[in-house]
């Protein structure tokens, strides 16, 4: 695949150089320049739609913001192409980041509707604010593209556009193949798991919105210079649909898909002209056909085909990794203490004044019948629920008010009762995501692929391979996680959690659904994890496993802690026996008498 990408970039560069040399007339070149502009929008939108899984139907609004900002800066202040476009990128980027805020509260269709509303608002502000935007007549007299006061020839402007598209494509490609890109995919596929690995989902979404907005803003400014005239009717809802379609048609999440999609949809009206009045109908029909025939887009479908025809190796060589012990070295196991932890849901008290202490380095088991409050306990400690009363301390640090990803970054990792893997990512990528919070390269480093970035990525990969070997999955490293058998999925979750280099690991019912043999293996694995200097809090039903592996057992019943002691002592505790098997009943007593 890597060679294919290099070939793709070479091909793109060749086309961008060849077109102006061969284009017959000015109209042809202008149309191609329009494609370059749309390509920039589509490439940026791909980061939002393809990687982060968020739908924006308001991209025309950001495009308009860029176009008007660029035009106004050029007309009123006489700024040149680059400065005006930077201004346009800033304004659009700010609005884009603001647009990300609603995604904190709403998802899916709701978010799509917010973006639609945003696009309509921009369009109508452009109509209403006549003194600035010229109202419905629009802005005329936008100066020709110029740089440092020197006017650019048509070919020089073309070069600016071509270089911008090339580097925008390269930048988003590099972004995708960095920790940021993996975090985006992770947030899209399981936000819950991503947060538990120390990824701030809101920050990642804001980044994605900002990238999509900045590119749309730059494209808008270029458009204003190319067209020399802009008006509100160029930036309508149907344009937003078209931008989204470019990404979907070409192949969301693929590197060159959006460029291809932009190309097709720029030239499509030329082709559809022969349908005359059926033009719009044909456009709708095409959109429908794409959704049914090529749900992965053109390049997405081709990519799948390629992967099937020339499958890569299924696993990786464990020798490429560094041992798990080395990855997890140099940290102290953490203690965890809850004091009077109480959680109420409406009138129901799921957890009542639970005080538990997990000593550093121990394997602490939490058991209890169904509905005892175990899951509530785990979810409160890891920050998904807020306690009604009481608090949690990790190594003396109060966790009150901290977000899930903040708690994860303090060194608390967890697995999930219903496994929460990133199903469409490979096994290895799942573990790589776990290393996100340890990346010290910033966004520029990732986009420019600096030596520091390469070094860290290599180290992250080596650590992940070692962890896969630790849980025995290196042979399946390149498979998609959703195709793993259930038992392996559980192990992958453990490896992924270990990749955050935790000091305390929460295992939420890791034996549920496993075979006896798998449970035996799990027992060994839990011991080894504790041996690597990680405190383990094990939530389990499986009594044999707990008695074999735990140093301390805490028993929950009806939200209250009824025992907390060494396994043998708990086993013979009358209250525990009563909770599990029921107490002596009056009827049985009478029968016995």
């Amino acid at each position: 695949m890597k060679t294919l990408h290099i070939l793709g970039f070479a091909l793109l560069a060749a086309i961008l150089v060849a077109v102006p040399l061969t284009s017959g007339n000015e109209y042809e070149l202008r149309l191609f320049m329009l494609f370059l502009i749309y390509g920039v929008i589509a490439v940026g939108l791909n980061v939002l739609v393809g990687l982060t899984g968020l739908v924006s139907l308001g991209q025309a609004g950001l495009f308009a913001l860029g176009a008007y900002t660029g035009a106004i800066l050029a007309i009123r202040f006489g700024l040149d192409l680059v400065v005006a476009s930077v201004g346009a990128a800033l304004v659009a980027g700010l609005f884009g980041a603001a647009l990300a805020y609603p995604s904190v509260r709403v998802r899916g269709v709701y978010l799509a509707v917010v973006t639609i509303a945003f696009g309509l608002i921009v369009e109508n502000v452009a109509i209403e604010w006549q003194s600035l935007t010229g109202g419905t007549t629009g802005l005329t007299g936008i100066p020709g593209p110029n740089l440092f006061g020197y006017p650019l020839s048509g070919y020089a402007f073309y070069a600016v556009l071509a270089v911008t598209l090339f580097f925008a494509t390269l930048a988003t490609h590099n972004l995708k193949h960095s920790g940021y890109g993996r975090a985006m995919l992770a947030v899209a596929q399981s936000e819950t798991a991503a947060r538990s690995l120390g990824i701030g989902a809101t920050g990642i979404r804001t980044l994605a919105f900002a990238v999509a907005a900045v590119t749309a803003g730059i494209a808008g400014s270029f458009y204003a210079f190319l067209n020399a005239y802009i008006s509100p009717d160029i930036f309508t809802f149907s344009d937003s649909v078209r931008f989204l379609l470019m990404v979907i048609l070409g192949g969301a999440a693929s590197t060159f898909g959006p460029v291809l999609g932009a190309f097709i949809l720029t030239y499509l009206p030329e082709v559809l002209q022969r349908f005359a009045e059926w033009q719009k109908f044909a456009y709708g029909a095409l959109l429908l056909a794409v959704m049914f025939g090529l749900p992965g887009g053109i390049l997405g479908t081709l990519g799948q085909l390629y992967a099937r025809l020339r499958p890569g190796p299924r696993g990786v060589d464990p020798a490429e990794g560094i041992p798990a012990a080395e990855t997890l070295a140099g940290r102290e196991p953490a203690s965890l203490e809850t004091v009077g932890l109480t959680v109420r849901f409406g009138g129901l008290t799921a957890l009542s004044a639970a005080s538990v202490r997990v000593a550093p380095g121990e394997i602490h088991a939490l058991i209890g019948p169904n509905g005892a409050g175990k899951s509530t306990f785990v979810n409160t400690i890891s920050g998904f629920y807020r306690p009604s009363e009481g608090g949690v301390q990790l190594d003396g640090t109060d966790l009150a008010g901290r977000k899930v990803h903040g708690i994860a970054r303090l060194g608390l990792a967890r697995t999930f009762q219903n496994t929460e893997l990133f199903g469409q990512m490979t096994v290895l990528e799942n573990v790589l995501v776990g290393g996100f919070s340890h990346h010290s390269y910033g966004l520029p480093g990732a986009i420019l692929r600096t030596p520091g970035f390469r070094r860290e990525e290599a180290a992250c990969r080596a650590a992940a391979i070692g962890l896969l070997d630790f849980v025995g999955l290196s042979e399946a490293a390149n498979e998609q996680a959703r195709f793993l058998p259930f038992g392996h999925q559980r192990r992958l979750e453990i490896a992924r959690a270990l990749a955050t280099r935790p000091r305390l690991l929460l295992l939420d019912e890791p034996a549920a659904g496993l075979t006896t043999q798998e449970i035996d293996e799990l027992e060994g694995m839990i011991r080894k994890i504790a041996g690597l200097g990680v405190s383990v809090l094990l939530i389990e039903h499986h009594v044999d496993l707990i008695m074999a592996v735990a140093d301390t057992v805490t028993v929950l019943d009806y939200g209250q802690i009824i025992a907390s002691d060494r396994p043998e002592a708990v086993q013979s505790d009358p209250r525990v026996i009563e909770a599990y098997f029921g107490g002596p009943s009056a009827i049985l007593d009478e029968e016995a008498a």
């Binding site: 709403v106 269709v109 945003f118 608002i121 109508n124 209403e128 819950t192 149907s238 719009k280 049914f292």
Partner: protein, 291 residues
Amino acid sequence: MTTALQYTLSGLAIGGIYALVALGFHIMWSAAKAVNFAHGDTLMIGAVLAVMGVDAGLPLPLACLLAILGGALFGVVLERFAVRPFIGANASIGWMLTTIAVGIMAESLATMQFGGFSRPLPSPGVARAISIFGAGVYPQELVIPAVAVLTMIALHVMQRHTLVGRAMQAVAHNRQAAALMGIDVDRIVMFSFGLAALLGAGAGVLVAPVIQASASMGVLLGLKGFAVAIIGGITSGPGVVLAGLAFGVMEKFVEGYISTAAREIVGFSAMILVLLAFPQGLFGRREIFKV
């Protein structure tokens, strides 16, 4: 004072249309957790078919009835071929784009058949304006909000007291459990989309005499209907109707005192703000998040 009353009355009329469209979104969302983004075009189909029916010499009531049935059929067919294949996929982008695509096709077909211009639907409801405390309104405009409220009540009764209504609620709550109880989920969803489209086309027939019928009338009305559904809380029938009426009145005031463009700015900004403050809408039920 008269101006305020005038704005209120005509606001209630257009608000009644939003309410009917939003009720459709409520019904579809409840059944399928998916909606028809071409729902505005269902309204357009109702209006345009009614005008074409009258053109063809049909008596007005028959033309209206056929137009509404035509709209409902559109809803049923669209659900079967554009929505159902994509339900259950974790991203909603599939049915969003397919329904938008069908909307584009419907609009383009309508433009070809109907022409690119606007025409009114003749109706006794707009034959003569009546005066209420100096504010002039058509009887048609008074009928629209009444129809919206009555529809809401009827829908409520149906959801509570009929077998199909209860089945709709069961499907809304849990598709799989409903299917296990012997409910034909696909048919319930199809019925819901048909019913929603029926209301949408009905709204189109009702509004066609007041604003003119045209092939492009659906998009903005549909988007506003969706905005209203979100403001009111898409899970609450009474909520969306109330929000629709209020939205209509607000629009008329903004339009009257400022401008048409300001109307859209205020309306859609209101939607975003409501959504930020109340992610479930003003009257919607909260969806519980479970790890």
